[in-house]
Structure formats: structure tokens, C-alpha cells
Symmetry: C2
Subunit: 293 residues, 2 copies
């Protein structure tokens, strides 16, 4: 682990790589607030002709919504540069397991998952209809059309959603159980709140069954997709993130170098602690410190 | 494990014990439906002068509400015969940890917990105020008065409750973390739904911290209280329940005999499976089969 301290070290870091993979929450922004200086540092990378990719475990928004968020913050981006755990989940269902068109997916999650699944032609239910449901102890009707339950971060999670997800997974033969990402916490608006990996736990515990797939970082699906689509050289690629167990582990597992920023979940103490086994190649207080001024 | 098959075996069973401890959900009723024949079998025990105690992990109702439910079903009972995990939680806070009167408890749970805590003079918040809250990503205000978070079965659990419970446990120094009971599932209205032990998991996972106490069966608090208050002889006492990992384990750990009924969570196959390590002394299809006709 090397801290990028001097201007020279930071310039060398930028010169070393052609391809910059960015986590978003805790690196570029925190909730609705841009981390100061980020747009300037991003412009500098663009001006040097670097390839930029956004790789987020946040499944609450679709890639289109992320594009709008980036643009609203004055960060240049295009849709094909954005990879999210919801998009990875849709790709997994469509391309890996060939989810049958006569089935539908029950979502404990938000519109990002719904939009990405629908964009792949996969029918969905749950995310919206049950967002304000109040559990009334009435039996949950069977719904044999539900062929998968997908769980992601859900700010509108409630008991009805848990009871339905549990019921479908228990009763429907072969019902798939998929988690968009395993983040146990999530930084937003100066708070840390429970993440997708925590929100999924009641189902895992009640079923006594792990999900068949946990997409998002550190799973390698998104990295493999990016490498395959853009034919990138691993030695010219760096992953920049704020979480050791997702972002940095993702880069380390993928054989690329990593930069940990301290504007999100990870504190310097945690990163440098002897008990921490997931070490970034580099670290820096904020991504914005990479800007030349 | 001995099945009580013949009329003689069932009569011998009743004659053997003076004190009958009953689980409720899955033994006496399932949701709002009495299990057929239960009131008759219960009357028979009363007519023979048996002592009866109701020992439930269900924290959604207060003991007063359970008394009313029993009476509405035509089952004779009095308040001092009822022991619940919410009552045990109130007793733990009051008598074991001497919860300070200037502090209050944030409840992820229902009115049963609130009522039992309030009855012990412990101030509470959460259970009702946040039952219909919609999480809006606004920062959660600090509340240094919250000195404990109690989690129980909560049919109105939602993200706001999780975010608040997590925040208090993370930010308030010494904030206690208590689980009313560990049941992973709960039988109601012909369904099985996630129980208190499952509902608590997002907090356990996000905090990476176990609760300091898990009251309710199989923890021995309620058994110790009953034995101490009524000076019962263990060899004359039997625990009757439908769950191996709570009811039967509770009795086994307490050194009393146990009877497993098959009207709730446990199936005969699970009970007789070679992988099952928690064995009741006796089993019978339904408690109502103990009635002489």
C-alpha cells in the first residue's frame, strides 16, 4: 500500500494507466452531494484521453438514471461506460441462466433493478406494487409465475416483501435466488445505512439457503464484461474505490492495480490495520487530489 | 422419542406430570384459528387439577392480549400463568441490567414489546411512530436518549426502522442490543413467514455484531422464572411445543421432559431425521389427541 503524496507521484499514477474504473458512491458522490473537486479531476483524465468506466454496486438506479446523475454533476459520461449490479443481474438472468420468458421476477429492491430487467425483456413484480404494502397476516397467494427472487438495496423494504419473497422461494420449485450485491452497508447523506447484503439476510436466515449468485463487486462479472467489450490491458487498468471488500477486492481478484480513496466507507485506520487482509496498491485521501492543482 | 399412540399411553403421560408448560403458536392455535380440539384437551387438564403455564416466544402481543386471546378461544387462563419473550425482555432490562430511567428503548417490533416495557416503567419509541415511515434518505437525527435497541417479530418492519436501529447502535456509546427471541420462522394463517431471528439479521450483518441477549426459548430465563415463582418439581413438569430449536431445546436444556406436537413448524420427517439432534421425550400428532375421547 503506497500513499500518493507528492504531485509527482500522482502524475506518475495517472500516466501509468490508460483505463480508469470508478466506483461511484463514496468516490464521486455521497448521496446527492458531489465530493468537492471530483468533476475537475475527472475532466483532467478526459483531457489526457483516458478511458473511463463507472462500475457501481448501487442497484437503486438504472444506468440511464446514473448517466443523468453524472451529467447533472457536470461529469462527462456515456451510457456504454456505465456498469451496475442491476445491469449485471439482468445480464446474468438473460445470458447465463436464460430466464424463461413465461416466468417473472419478484424484486425486493428499487426501480433500477426493475428498469434493467425490463430492458432485457424480463417481466418483474414487487418493487413498486409492494413498496407501501402493510402486512395484514392474510395468506400470501401462490404465484407460480415467479421464477426468481432478486434482492438489492431497498429503501422501501417491508415485511410484506420479505414474506412474499420467502413464500415464492419456499414454494415455487426451482425458484432462483439472486442478490444484486453483497455490500453490508451503504454511504448516503453523511450516514451509513444497511446495504443490499444486510437487507437480504432475513430471507437467507428464514430459508437457511444462500443465494445462487451475488453479482456486483467483488464478483468478477462486470470486470469480465468490461475487459471483453473493450479489449483492455489489465496492466494499464486501475480500479478506484472506497470499499475494501467490494472495490479493492474486485480489482485485486481481477489482477489489476487498485486505488483506495478515503471519502467513503473505509477509514485510513481500517485500511492500515494489521487485521485488514484486502490491501489496495495505492491510497489517497480523495480522488479529487489527483487533479494537478 | 416415543410416540403416544394408545389411549393408555396418553393417560399415563397426563398422570405422570403435575405441570404443563405450553407453547402457543402452532400448538394451541395458528394465527387466529384454534387448532381443533385444543379447548377440550385443555379443559381435561384443568379438571384433573394440573398446573398450566403458557410460554410463548411471540412478542407481538402483551400478556394481557394473550389472556384475552385465550379467553376468546374458550381456554381458561389467568395473567400470572402467561410468560412471553416480550415480558422476559422487560424483566431482563429492569432486573438484570437495571436500564436507567433517563434512557429509552428503540423498538423494532410490535405493541407487545412496547406494552410490556412500558408496564415496567421503561420508556419506548419506534414501534408505532415508525410503523408506516417511508425512508427518504434524510440524515437520521442523533438521539442520545436511546440506550437500547430491542428487536422482535415486526410485521411492520421497514427500512426506516432498520436505519434508525443501526444508527443508534453504531453511534450511541453503550447502546444495548437485545433480541426478544431467535425464531427464524413463524407459523400463521397456514403460512410460514420470517420470524424475529430473521428480522433482526440486517442489523446484525450491517453492524457485524451479535445481540448481547436473545431472550425467549431456548434461553432459560422464562423457565427459571417459572420454577422460582411456583417452586415446581422438574420431574413433574413437561414442556409441550411444536419447534425443536426453541420449545424442545428449552425443555431439554432445563432438564424437564418434552412433548413435540406436529401441528406447527416441525414435520414428523424433520423430527425423526438422523440429522436432527434435538429430540423430544414424546411426540403426538396434535395436543388435542391427549383428550380422552
Amino acid at each position: 500500500m503506497k500513499e500518493l503524496v507528492t504531485r509527482e507521484e500522482r502524475k506518475e499514477f495517472i500516466d501509468k494507466f490508460d483505463n480508469f474504473l470508478f466506483d461511484c458512491d463514496g468516490v464521486l458522490w455521497e448521496g446527492t452531494k458531489l465530493i468537492p473537486g471530483v468533476e475537475k479531476a475527472m475532466e483532467e483524465l478526459r483531457s489526457k484521453g483516458k478511458n473511463i468506466y463507472f462500475v457501481t454496486n448501487n442497484s437503486t438506479k438504472s444506468r440511464k438514471s446514473f448517466l443523468k446523475k453524472l451529467q447533472d454533476f457536470g461529469i462527462q459520461a456515456s451510457l456504454h461506460e456505465i456498469f451496475s449490479s442491476a445491469f449485471a443481474t439482468a445480464a446474468y438472468l438473460k445470458q447465463v441462466v436464460h430466464f424463461p420468458p413465461e416466468k417473472k421476477v419478484y424484486i425486493v429492491g428499487m426501480e433500477g433493478i426493475r428498469d434493467e430487467l425490463n430492458a432485457e425483456g424480463i417481466r418483474t413484480c414487487g418493487a413498486e406494487e409492494d413498496a407501501h404494502a402493510v402486512f395484514d397476516s392474510e395468506p400470501i397467494p401462490d404465484d407460480p409465475e415467479v421464477g426468481a427472487v432478486v434482492i438489492g438495496l431497498d429503501l422501501h423494504v417491508n415485511y410484506t416483501k420479505y414474506a412474499k419473497a420467502f413464500t415464492y422461494l419456499k414454494r415455487n420449485p426451482g425458484c432462483r435466488f439472486i442478490l444484486t450485491n453483497g455490500d453490508t452497508t451503504f454511504p448516503t447523506h453523511g450516514m451509513i445505512v444497511p446495504g443490499a447484503g444486510s437487507i437480504a439476510m432475513p430471507i437467507i436466515k428464514a430459508l437457511n439457503r444462500e443465494p445462487e449468485a451475488v453479482l456486483g463487486k467483488p464478483a468478477q462479472n462486470m470486470l469480465e464484461t468490461i475487459f471483453a467489450e473493450y479489449d483492455l490491458q489489465p496492466c494499464k487498468t486501475v480500479m478506484i474505490g472506497d470499499r475494501l471488500d467490494t472495490d479493492i477486492d474486485f480489482g485485486n481478484q481481477g489482477g489489476i492495480e487498485t486505488l483506495c480513496v478515503l471519502t467513503g466507507i473505509t477509514t485510513k485506520e481500517e485500511m492500515l490495520s494489521p487485521t485488514n487482509k484486502i490491501k489496495p496498491t495505492y491510497y489517497i485521501p480523495s480522488f479529487s487530489d489527483l487533479a494537478s492543482e
